[in-house]
């Protein structure tokens, strides 16, 4: 398993694994970084370099997950990253997928009624996904940010306890489902079951998009489940210890 570190040149990292491109964008970096190392680039942009390295390693190696290290980051850093990822999904990845599906269906010759189900399936996924994101952004993340503020400023505790009387992260942990599952399914449906009566090149673009999106969603959920949730549990313990 290959791991990147703060002294890796970012251009080399990208040349090795270009699927990291959207990830480094969300972390706050743009292309054109010459021979600079991750350390140099993060310093210049004011990005937490350890967090940067951990996230790209999580994405690059499916089996890599240094929960210990990731638990050291502040929840605000984690949430900031998660929010940027949500924006990227809503503003780019989902519309791009819709565009590819439209294109994919526009070339259909026979059996198009079946192929149209791809659009319906994707639409249902998108609706669920937007709800999923909204729940996190409207309920969960504000709770975590408020909780975190209490740690830094105990005078806010009373108001916090009042607002979130019976709220714990456990509820979210239980309900939080894997949105990557549907992308996995759509990928398999196209590869295995749909009649190939569409332009193969467009089909390939759509599939590439699905592969990337599925992987991205999987890692996104991993960060929420394996970093955010345990981190919040820690904070809850501290804040609620004398209740």
């Amino acid at each position: 398993m290959e791991l990147f570190n703060e002294n890796s040149k970012l251009a080399q990292v990208i040349l090795k694994d270009h699927t990291l491109l959207p990830v480094i964008n969300r972390l706050g970096l743009k292309l054109g970084f010459g021979d600079s190392t991750i350390q140099q680039l993060c310093k210049k942009e004011g990005i937490d370099v350890t967090f940067f390295v951990e996230i790209i390693n999580v994405f690059h190696n499916e089996n890599y997950f240094s929960e210990k290290k990731l638990l050291d980051f502040s929840v605000t850093t984690v949430i900031d990253y998660l929010l940027k990822t949500h924006r990227n999904y809503v503003d780019y990845v989902i519309p791009e997928q819709e565009r590819l599906i439209d294109l994919f269906l526009s070339n259909c010759t026979t059996g198009c009624k079946e192929n149209e189900l791809v659009r319906k399936f994707n639409k249902k996924f998108t609706e669920e996904f937007i709800k999923h994101i909204q729940l996190e952004e409207i309920e969960i993340f504000p709770y975590v940010i408020n909780l975190n503020e209490v740690i830094g400023n105990p005078s806010k505790k009373a108001a916090f306890m009042d607002q979130y009387k019976n709220f714990t992260i456990k509820g979210f942990e239980k309900e939080h489902n894997n949105m990557d599952e549907k992308m996995f399914d759509l990928k398999n449906i196209i590869i295995k079951y749909l009649q190939p009566n569409y332009d193969q090149n467009i089909g390939n673009s759509l599939l590439s998009n699905l592969f990337i999106f599925e992987k991205d969603l999987k890692n996104h959920s991993r960060i929420e489940d394996k970093i955010l949730v345990p981190k919040v549990k820690q904070l809850e313990k501290i804040v609620k210890k004398d209740e």
């Binding site: 549907k182 079951y193 190939p196 009566n197």
Partner: protein, 195 residues
Amino acid sequence: MSKVIIICDSDIILKGLSVILSDCNADEVFLMHHKKELNDYPHLSGYILIILPLNIINDYEIQLKQILINAINIKYLHLIFEEKTSITSSDIYIGDNPASIVKKVNELLNSFWTKKVIEPINDLTKREIDVLLLVAKGLANKEIADKLSISIHTVISHRKNISEKTGIKSASGLTMYAVLKKLIDIDEISTSDLI
């Protein structure tokens, strides 16, 4: 992605058939005077129907398969030049009327799909298909257990096997699978909220 290849040394027959087949279901029709011209098309892929005279040497099927390595499936129709009583569904008599020739070709082209539809289904057991259909209709595990009089544990284990065999995990994914396998009617789904 289906193609028709006509191989015949007679230009009259080649051109005549290509006009007749211009409105068959194939995406493309290729005309060749000799089977060795196939060597120029090794990239031909997908479902291929080859129409050729019956008198072409016996082992041509193996040879053609070796050339068309990208084909998913190859089927054949034989051209018969003399009227005889034993014309089968795999023969075209050149005296046949154009509509019946097109019909024969389309039937064979369609059979590529129907065959594809049937085989993976065999991988699911009868009970798994029962469960699949109920999942596809939007029932929860508990409801399925009640309906089939089995334990919820059994339902979960069936679902796990179904997902492993089909590569589909979500309920709406399985609904789509059931439609594509023609296990449920597409019109039932198009207006519903199941997918």
